[in-house]
């Protein structure tokens, strides 16, 4: 209530600062898990393991506070998720608030009730198979599509009723980084800057800063349609960050870039992350591990997993598994010795091209193997060429979650 009133008084669009502050102040008193259901799985309050510093737009002072952080493992399943979030009776300080977001195209439910809150400092990796509804969600969050149901608020501004104020806070890189091909990057970025309300020297400054951050200098006066894919993408990127928006939404920002360019874009995102709320959609799992503080998996329009990349990895069968590579003649012995370690659940082997054998030992639930296995290897004097603990495999988790759902749907139909 208080927040709403504050907005009315504030009146000016684009000034989210006061509303923000109100929410943060309120929030300090109510943070916690008081109202949590007893057996609901805990999840991080804001997904970021670091203290979060809040800066109000007007005063520029920091309201620093350690946020309690609870790692979740195993990851929340969909049902548990909604239980947990319903049970949490706290005021939220999210920059992006998505509630029950739904979009149907005729009979297709492209997005079916997505709830998400993204706080400052978070880089949310939006994962999902093709057609999962990632792009559709982003189009609704940025105000391009209007939702069939549900609502989106950006720094407190409702995207449907307070569209322009919300859109001023957003930088958006649509899928495929569209741009006007007949324009040069300089013209295009100037156009965007002008449409965002800059003019004169400020406009030039903003364009120059965006150009510098994205290394567009060499192609600045070349029509965009003649640029390579990498440069085109960077033009889209420059356009999105031009006004230094507090909320950044990017649909597959590194798609089609070469490894160097990917690295550059990721470094840039990381650098900007501290004072922004960022959502990037991707189907590259390594990207999530590289830059995201939180991973959300969406499948057929629903959120099926939500947690830190580490928590996601912990769901992998390979999490804490130990892999070692030994010569073929030792393989049988190694395998039988490994099975004597009580915390090992199963052992698998795979022949390698160079004649050696790769053996992977999977732990029983929650067990740590690496010390036992390396001690054993030393004692038995195995010729282990490699010996390492696996962090887990994201692709495995991804497939397990998303195909499981597909199968369940098939069974539902039967």
């Amino acid at each position: 209530m208080r927040q709403k009133r504050q907005h009315k008084l504030d009146g000016k669009p684009g000034n989210g600062g006061d509303g923000q502050k109100a929410r943060v102040d309120d929030e300090t008193s109510t943070i916690g898990f008081e109202n949590m259901e007893p057996n609901a799985t805990l999840r991080p309050l804001c997904g970021s393991p670091r203290p979060i510093a809040w800066r109000t737009a007007r005063t520029g002072t920091a309201i620093g506070r350690n946020v309690r952080f609870v790692r979740i493992a195993p990851l929340l399943a969909e049902g548990e998720f909604s239980k947990a979030s319903n049970g949490r009776g706290r005021r939220d300080f999210s920059m992006i608030e998505i509630e029950g977001l739904t979009k149907t195209f005729g009979p297709i439910a492209a997005v079916a009730g997505v709830d998400l809150k993204v706080a400052r400092g978070e880089v949310l990796g939006f994962l999902g198979p093709n057609g999962a509804g990632k792009s559709t969600t982003m189009k609704m969050v940025t105000g391009y599509l209007s939702p069939t149901a549900g609502r989106v608020r950006i720094l407190g501004h409702d995207i449907e009723t307070d569209t322009l104020a919300a859109q001023r806070q957003i930088g958006y890189l649509p899928e495929g980084a569209p741009a006007y091909g007949d324009m040069t990057p300089r013209q295009f970025l100037s156009f965007i800057a002008e449409a965002r309300g800059f003019s004169g020297a400020t406009l030039k400054e903003k364009v120059a800063a965006a150009v510098e951050k994205t290394d567009l200098d060499p192609v600045l006066d070349q029509p965009i349609e003649t640029l390579s894919k990498g440069f085109k993408r960077r033009v889209g990127f420059a356009q999105a960050i031009l006004h230094d928006p507090p909320v950044l939404i990017m649909d597959e920002p590194t798609d089609g870039l070469d490894p160097n360019q990917k690295h550059a874009v990721r470094a840039l995102i990381k650098k900007m992350a501290a004072d922004k709320a960022i959502i990037i959609s991707t189907h590259l799992l390594e990207e999530v591990e590289a830059i995201c503080t939180r991973a959300v998996i969406i499948d057929r329009g629903r959120v099926v997993a939500d947690g830190t990349p580490a928590a996601l990895l912990a769901r992998s069968r390979h999490h804490n598994a130990v892999t070692l590579t030994v010569p073929a003649d030792q393989a049988a012995q190694v395998k039988s010795r490994l099975k004597t370690i009580s915390s090992i659940g199963s052992v698998e082997e795979a022949a390698r091209k160079d004649g050696s054998v790769q053996i992977t030992a999977f732990p029983k639930a929650g067990a740590l193997l690496i010390e036992d296995v390396s001690a054993l290897a030393k004692a038995e004097k195995w010729d282990a060429r490699e010996l390492y603990a696996e962090p887990g495999r994201l692709d495995e988790v991804f497939r397990a979650i998303t195909t499981h759902d597909t199968r369940r749907a098939a069974e539902d139909h039967a």
Binding site: G143, Y144, L164, Q167, R168, P174, A179
Partner: protein
């Protein structure tokens, strides 16, 4: 207003950054000359005025203007720039107006480039230049009306061929609704008020009254309210598409 200007500038520059404006202008001038001199027998007329020249404008616009307007929104959708445009903090009405005004200005440039024919009549005789100016103003307004209709229809469909055909048809109906053929058809059975109403929607009637040299407020109101109506429709249609 500033937003309209921003969109207008980009859009107008785009016409001249691509062959589109040049092709349009060349064809417009060429067709105008062909109609006026060969079909209209401009010289045989023996009159130092541009009546013949202006007579063909509605028919030329009928095909050339929908060719411009059909891509107005379809192109933005096809290239994905629509998503950029509608997520910028620019009100939708400003975007619609800016795009429309740029296209209108482009047809204005084409119209201005017909000035050699004005020079010609002034060289050959001493025409009433006030009437000629009125003719140009009427022609420009009419082009604007065709364009508003075409823009609105292009917002309704992603298919440029459909946008073209439907625009030509609708524009044609607006053009001929005052022709004797049409009015006679209605006169046979419809009440006089309906006949008058139909004829009052005719571009031809309003255009003819302006080219006679009288810029009547009613004609101006007609064209401007028609333009406003279709631009409003354009805003609504783009917004409806957002709802998917």
């Amino acid at each position: 207003m500033k937003d309209v200007w921003t969109i207008f500038k980009r859009e107008f520059a785009a016409y001249f950054a691509t062959p589109l404006a040049y092709v349009f202008i060349v064809i417009f001038l060429f067709a105008m000359g062909a109609f006026t001199f060969y079909i209209g027998r401009f010289y045989d007329n023996g009159m130092a005025d541009l009546t013949v020249f202006f007579t063909y404008h509605p028919w030329l616009y009928l095909f050339l203007v929908p060719a411009i307007s059909m891509r107005l929104w379809a192109e933005e959708r096809r290239t994905g720039t629509m998503e950029l445009l509608l997520t910028l903090p620019v009100p939708l009405w400003a975007t619609v107006t800016g795009k429309y005004l740029a296209a209108w200005a482009m047809t204005g440039v084409a119209l201005v480039l017909t000035f050699p024919i004005w020079l010609t009549v002034n060289y050959l005789g001493s025409p009433d230049n006030g009437v000629i100016l009125a003719g140009y103003i009427g022609s420009f307004l009419m082009a604007g009306a065709y364009l508003a209709i075409g823009a609105c229809i292009s917002a309704a469909t992603n298919n440029q061929v459909i946008a073209f055909v439907v625009s030509v048809t609708v524009c044609f109906l607006f053009t001929i609704s005052g022709a004797p053929l049409v009015l006679d058809f209605f006169r046979a059975w419809a009440p006089q008020t309906l006949v008058t109403a139909i004829s009052s929607f005719s571009f031809l009637t309003h255009f003819a009254s302006i080219t006679n040299g009288v810029i009547d407020l009613r004609d101006l109101v007609f064209f401007f309210s028609l333009i406003a109506l279709f631009l409003g429709g354009n805003v609504v249609l783009v917004d409806l598409k957002r709802a998917g």
